[in-house]
Symmetry: C2
Subunit: 137 residues, 2 copies
Amino acid sequence: MPMETPVKDRTYSIRQLSKEFDVTARALRFYEDKGLISPERKGQTRLYSPRDRARLQLILRGKRLGFSLIEIHEILDLYTPKDHGVAQMRATLGKYRGQIETLKRQREDIEAAIKDMSDGCVWLEDQIDQLEAENAQ
Amino acid sequence: MPMETPVKDRTYSIRQLSKEFDVTARALRFYEDKGLISPERKGQTRLYSPRDRARLQLILRGKRLGFSLIEIHEILDLYTPKDHGVAQMRATLGKYRGQIETLKRQREDIEAAIKDMSDGCVWLEDQIDQLEAENAQ
DNA sequence: TCTTACATTTACGTCAACGTAAAGTTATGT
DNA sequence: ACATAACTTTACGTTGACGTAAATGTAAGA
């Protein structure tokens, strides 16, 4: 009976990841080139760990939110424990808070956009109802 | 005594708008080139109406949310009343709803991001507190 | 009238984020 | 043994969103 591979040690090929998240292998290599992910190598080929996978998720979320790869890189930095002195940790904390502020501003933009469009939606529905009532005469 | 200019008829120069919203005049002309805004002309020079100003606000909000100019163009289309047949209005309504779905997905991404970072923030604060407690010995 | 400030168009330059083609390597099935 | 599939690197191409330079026009102030 073969040993179960512990989840921690699972690895993913570049194709598996690209299929799962619907990005091209080219993109994954590009992200590596830009220092966003650093998968292990078995000889030449890349082996992505669960941690790499998690980082990719963060990258893609960042993209959906419209951040540049550079900004995403900075955000990822915040996620990777530095474990330095208290001063460094304070600095990091500051960046955390700054990032949170950015996100909250963005959230307000979204709320506003959703409200605008929802209102427009309701208005349109009313117009349609009205025209239909006329036609039903 | 000079007549007060009614708000409706106020106009803005390209510089005024670019300063107010902190974008370059080049960008404004570029947006016009792409059909996102269409200011009046007094001779050669552009005169932006309050409606143009409002459109610009929508454009910039779209940008902050990471939409491309093409996507923003489509969104702007939704804001400009077409006043066509019921069939068209139904189609437009569909686009509205699709856009709203997109925005809601984006909102979930943001909520998740904010939660992640807030948690990390709290964790970091705890770490710092702990290290300080040690140092205080 | 001359300068200064802001406006215009035209056109080439740039940077990010990949796409794509070429040429080669490694593992897998028949 | 050989094809096929999936991986690799290198390098040039592309698209979007402007920047920037050049040449020109216009209106206001010294």
